[in-house]
């Protein structure tokens, strides 16, 4: 049982790292810095709905940590981890409230991620002018959340866990 869980988590972490890489190959929409779909969040959302909240945190945290020490620097680690934690915190909160389905929670996650990143950016570079990006980042987060929500809805419906949580 325990081994199965560790294996499943390891696979989800590996999957989300590969998805991060795949996403970096996609052509970027350049309107304001930092717009992306967030494919790496698919395994995280899968964990939120099929596994435990702590598993979602583990997958996201370990992915960001590993990517940072492998390819990136400390600053991008700070940005990623803030966005990631913010998005998971909001998704878990709204999942508890049962107001929204997977789609709504995914949208909340996308918007919360961008909010977290813009707030940490304002703090790090000490530039309130960055808040000008906020409207576009809200729209981008919403659209990304819709796409990820559609994918996760299918996954959560059709994938059965090999063991009971």
């Amino acid at each position: 049982m325990k081994t199965k869980r560790i294996t499943l988590l390891a696979m989800l972490i590996a999957l989300s790292m590969v998805l991060s890489y795949l996403e970096s190959l996609l052509p970027q929409v350049y309107i304001v810095p930092g717009i992306k779909i967030g494919l790496a969040n698919i395994p995280v959302m899968f964990a939120i709905f099929k596994l435990k909240p702590s598993d979602a945190l583990l997958i996201s945290g370990i992915r960001i940590f590993l990517l940072a020490i492998l390819f990136r620097n400390f600053l991008s680690f700070i940005f990623s981890i803030t966005g990631g934690l913010m998005s998971i915190a909001f998704m878990l909160l709204f999942k508890k409230m049962k107001t929204f389905s997977i789609m709504g929670i995914s949208v909340i996650g996308g918007v919360a991620h961008n909010l977290g990143q813009i707030l940490i950016a304002v703090f790090v570079v000490n530039t309130p002018g960055l808040l000008f990006y906020l409207p576009i980042l809200i729209i981008a987060g919403t659209l990304a959340g819709i796409v990820i929500g559609l994918i996760c809805n299918l996954l959560v419906e059709h994938i059965q866990l090999p063991f009971q949580e």
């Binding site: 789609m103 570079v125 002018g129 000008f132």
Partner: protein, 121 residues
């Protein structure tokens, strides 16, 4: 697919909030006066926005080529890894910012008269 009505309400209200705040911000934009260059949160340079300027900002081999032309500001080239500052659209209004995170460089427009140094007086 089993979506709730709340999802649709959420998505629509987020988009409405974004569009309204976008136009609010657009309507509040003021013409800028001068261009500030900050490195590690310290002001290192200041240029009047209405004067065409070319300035190479260079530290320890890290460079960003700053251009001010027709009251618009952009980074022509830089040797930072992500090139976000180079791809950034031109800025011209007060409060707008171009940031090069890898070089810890911030280019921002502030309003008011351009300040000249003692020599130009």
């Amino acid at each position: 697919m089993k979506f709730k009505r709340n999802d649709i309400i959420l998505i629509i209200s987020l988009l409405i909030i974004a569009v309204i705040s976008f136009f609010l911000i657009q309507s509040m934009k003021k013409v800028g006066g001068s261009v500030l260059v900050l490195k590690n949160n310290q002001e290192i340079d200041k240029f009047p926005l209405n004067e065409n300027t070319k300035k190479m900002i260079e530290f320890d081999g890290q460079y960003n080529q700053l251009i001010i032309q027709d009251s618009k500001v952009w980074i022509e080239s830089a040797n930072c890894p992500n090139q976000i500052c180079v791809k950034h659209p031109k800025i011209q209004y007060s409060g707008e910012t171009i940031i090069c995170l890898p070089h810890q460089l911030v280019i921002t427009i502030v309003d008011g008269e351009a300040v000249f140094d003692s020599i130009s007086y």
